[in-house]
Each structure stands twice: as structure tokens, then as C-alpha cells.
């Protein structure tokens, strides 16, 4: 009986609120129609620009990444059944900044040494690592024996070359080196007028 009276009271209340509710729903329907038209044209524009109107907003993408990281780094077998830990590159930037190694006395006194790795040569065990052959060492080849007739011809040729007029060779400028460096790669054909190998 009490419930029936409650329901009757609610019915009376709803009857009084009904016009307001209808007004609100009509207002929302009209605003919704305008919004629908706006989003329709927006989706068309997005479609032709190669995108689409998604429910997923940038905030959702960010949240998804964070949750995935948490799941991947968790020890809980329910969350991370494979037990795969994220790679070192995937760790957040905060971890990289937290350098826990204590500085040495030299670093405290003279500041951080940037060229430590370059200055100290790596220790290589010669018994294990095969030494590479030295390629830079110049070994002069023995001169071939020249026959007397050939030697005479060569001498004659040398004397002709001495008598010949000097060939003009332009001086190198600092711009020429820069130009040649730039153009050498791009130059596909035509006459090579660079003096790089001269």
C-alpha cells in the first residue's frame, strides 16, 4: 500500500516535470541536429584529407600508451602473463635522467671527462684476436729491367716533354674544394672540369 502511494506521488511529480523534460529533450534534439550537421561536414572534410572522425581522442591514445607500459612492466602474472619486460629504449625519460653513479675524484676536480672512451685504447688480447694486416705500409716494388733500346726511347720522350710548352693549371682556391665536394656526388654526366685528382 505504501509503495502504491509512493508511486502515485512520483507519478504526480513526473506529471509536473513532464513539460520541462519535453522542453529539455526538444532543445537537445535541435542542438543535436545542428551538431550532427556540423560533425557530418567535418567528417567529410576529414575523409578527403585521409583521416576519419574517431571516438578516440589524443588523450585516449596517451592513456593507452601509459596503461600498456604499466602492464608490460608489472610483475603480476595476471597482468603480464608472458613476463616480458620492456626494452631499455622503452623506458621513460625520467629513468634516464636519474644517474645514480657517483662521480670520480677527477670528475669532481676537473669536470666530466667527455673523451675518456676515445683517449683510452681498448685492450685487445693478441692471442685471441687475429691482427689485421697493415694496409697503410708502403712496400716498393722492384723496378723492371729496362732494355737498352727501350731506355733510349724513354730518354728521347723525356727530352720532348721538357721542350714542350707548359700546360696551364689553375690554382686551387678554398671555394673550389667546397664546390667540388658538393658537385661530385650530383654530377651524373658531361665534361669533368674539376681538378681534384690533378
Amino acid at each position: 500500500m505504501e509503495n502504491i502511494f509512493k508511486t502515485v506521488g512520483k507519478g504526480l511529480l513526473y506529471l509536473l516535470v513532464l513539460p520541462v523534460f519535453l522542453l529539455v529533450i526538444t532543445g537537445y534534439a535541435l542542438v543535436g541536429a545542428f551538431c550532427f550537421i556540423y560533425l557530418f561536414f567535418k567528417s567529410i572534410i576529414l575523409f578527403f584529407s585521409g583521416r576519419s572522425l574517431k571516438i578516440e581522442l589524443p588523450e585516449d591514445v596517451k592513456a593507452k600508451k601509459i596503461i600498456q607500459k604499466i602492464i608490460a612492466s608489472s610483475q603480476d602474472p595476471l597482468l603480464n602473463p608472458d613476463g616480458v619486460q620492456p626494452a631499455a629504449d622503452d623506458k621513460p625519460a625520467e629513468d634516464e635522467t636519474n644517474d645514480t653513479t657517483e662521480p670520480s675524484i677527477e670528475e669532481v676536480a676537473f669536470g666530466p671527462d667527455e673523451d675518456i672512451a676515445e683517449s683510452v685504447p681498448p685492450i685487445v688480447d693478441a692471442t685471441i684476436v687475429d691482427p689485421e694486416p697493415e694496409q697503410d705500409v708502403f712496400i716498393p716494388e722492384p723496378e723492371p729491367e729496362i732494355e737498352p733500346v727501350q731506355q733510349q726511347k724513354n730518354e728521347a720522350k723525356f727530352s720532348e716533354e721538357q721542350d714542350a710548352p707548359e700546360v696551364y693549371t689553375p690554382k686551387k682556391t678554398k671555394y673550389q674544394e667546397v664546390d667540388s665536394d658538393i658537385d661530385d656526388e650530383d654530377r651524373g654526366g658531361g665534361v669533368d672540369i674539376s681538378f681534384k685528382g690533378f
Binding site: T7, V8, G11, L15, Y28, C35, L39, A63, I66
Partner: protein, 252 residues
């Protein structure tokens, strides 16, 4: 005069009681419908939780204003996605009516007329002249039936148009109701998620606890920073007293 008016016959009393019952029944029905609508709106509003929960769990959004802006944006996109089908249904039904008018070259066509419109599927009564006061007496007459339901082939455009508009319209209203429900849910969540309650907080009590280290704080009051929490009183173990003490007492 009034006692004369209050003299009701038995029939009048019965009629009044019957009317009261009808009114109560109507109010109960309205109350039940309203209750159903409220329940449905709550269910529709909870659909929003699924869409915004990740952002809140990951703490991407930590402000009320930001959350409201984000959730409303999402709410409109959900509405757009949901309202596409009813809008298409309504557009198609409108197109059908246009095609029908183009075929019959009749642009003054009334879709609700009882001859070749949607009215041909309805019962139509003539209510004029049901109450007459002729001869000083009030007489009631039953309404006369004008048209009974019948299928008219030329009314196919009206049938499809009304059907499509009704289905699409109600579907669209359902989407609008969901939109309102989600909006109400956004308002409620924005107030509850970022709420900072001070009901259990007492600054003076916190200060006193820092001055008296051994004081046990009431439930809900946090100890001051830097002060160790008071040890919880544990019941003493019920063991028999040492026999040496008893003997000493006896000797005394």
C-alpha cells in the same frame, strides 16, 4: 445551498469513486513510466564510463574543467555515431515521398488523408454531435465510424514515409535521451572524481597529536608529518603470574 449540493445520490458517489480510482491508476502508470525512464537514463549514462575510464585511470586528465571539456567532446561524437542510422532512415523515407510525388505529379499530397494516405490504415470516427442538449435534456450519442482500415495501393508513399519517419524519429529521440543521460553523468562524475572531502579532517586534532606523541588518534585523522603513530593498544597475554612473586608475597 451547500447542503443541498452535497446531497449526492448513490450513483454520484459511485461515479466519483470510479473517477478517483481512474486518476490514481493513471498516476501509478505515469509514475511507473517515469521510473522506467529514469532507470533507462542511468543505464545509458553509464555507457560513458567505458569511454572515459582509461584517461582517468592513467591520470592523463587531473582537472575537473579539463575532464568536462574532454567528456562533452566525446559525448557529441558518440551521439553523432549513434544518430547516423536514424537520420539516414528519415532521409530515405523523405526521399521515397519525393519520388512518389514526382511519379504522380502531385506536390499537394497530404500523407495523413483517409482516402489514399496513411489515414486509410486507421479507424476514423466522427465525434461531432455526440452531445446534444435538444429538448432541455442532455443526451449522449456514440460517434459514427467514417472510415475503417483498408489498404490503398496509391498510398504506398505515405505508408513508407510515415513508417520510416516514426522509426527514425523514435530512434533519434532515443539517441537524444542517451545524450542527455551522458551529459548528466559527466556532471555527476566531474563532481565526485575530483572531490576533496574535509569531513574527517580536523587540523587542531592533528596539531594536538603532534604535541602529545602517545595520543591515539580517532579513526580518519591522519598523524602529523614527522610524528610516529601511537602504538595500538594490544590486549595483555593471559598467562599465569610467575610462581616466584606469589611466594615472595606470601613470605611478606
Amino acid at each position: 445551498m451547500f447542503p443541498a449540493l452535497l446531497k449526492l445520490t448513490e450513483t454520484d458517489k459511485r461515479v466519483i469513486i470510479a473517477l478517483l480510482f481512474i486518476i490514481i491508476l493513471l498516476l501509478v502508470i505515469i509514475g511507473a513510466i517515469g521510473y522506467l525512464i529514469v532507470r533507462v537514463m542511468k543505464w545509458q549514462g553509464k555507457g560513458l564510463d567505458n569511454c572515459v575510464s582509461d584517461v582517468l585511470y592513467a591520470r592523463v586528465i587531473t582537472e575537473k574543467k579539463e575532464f568536462v571539456k574532454y567528456a562533452r567532446k566525446k559525448n557529441w561524437i558518440i551521439f553523432y555515431k549513434a544518430a547516423r542510422i536514424p537520420v539516414i532512415i528519415m532521409l530515405v523515407s523523405g526521399l521515397i515521398l519525393l519520388i512518389r510525388n514526382l511519379i504522380y505529379h502531385d506536390f499537394t499530397y497530404n500523407v495523413f488523408n483517409s482516402f489514399d494516405g496513411f489515414g486509410s490504415l486507421l479507424f476514423i470516427w466522427d465525434f461531432s454531435g455526440i452531445i446534444s442538449t435538444g429538448g432541455g435534456e442532455l443526451t449522449f450519442k456514440l460517434p459514427t465510424l467514417v472510415s475503417s482500415p483498408h489498404f490503398h495501393l496509391h498510398a504506398w508513399g505515405a505508408y513508407l514515409f510515415i513508417l520510416g519517419m516514426a522509426v527514425g524519429g523514435f530512434w533519434y529521440l532515443w539517441c537524444v535521451q542517451a545524450l542527455i543521460a551522458r551529459d548528466l553523468r559527466i556532471k555527476k562524475l566531474s563532481e565526485s572524481i575530483f572531490d576533496k572531502k574535509l569531513d574527517q579532517f580536523n587540523q587542531n586534532q592533528q596539531l594536538m597529536s603532534s604535541l602529545i606523541p602517545g595520543q591515539v588518534l580517532p579513526p580518519g585523522v591522519m598523524p602529523a608529518p614527522g610524528v610516529a603513530p601511537a602504538p595500538t593498544p594490544t590486549p595483555a597475554p593471559q598467562t599465569a603470574p610467575a610462581p616466584d612473586n606469589k611466594e615472595k608475597e606470601k613470605k611478606k
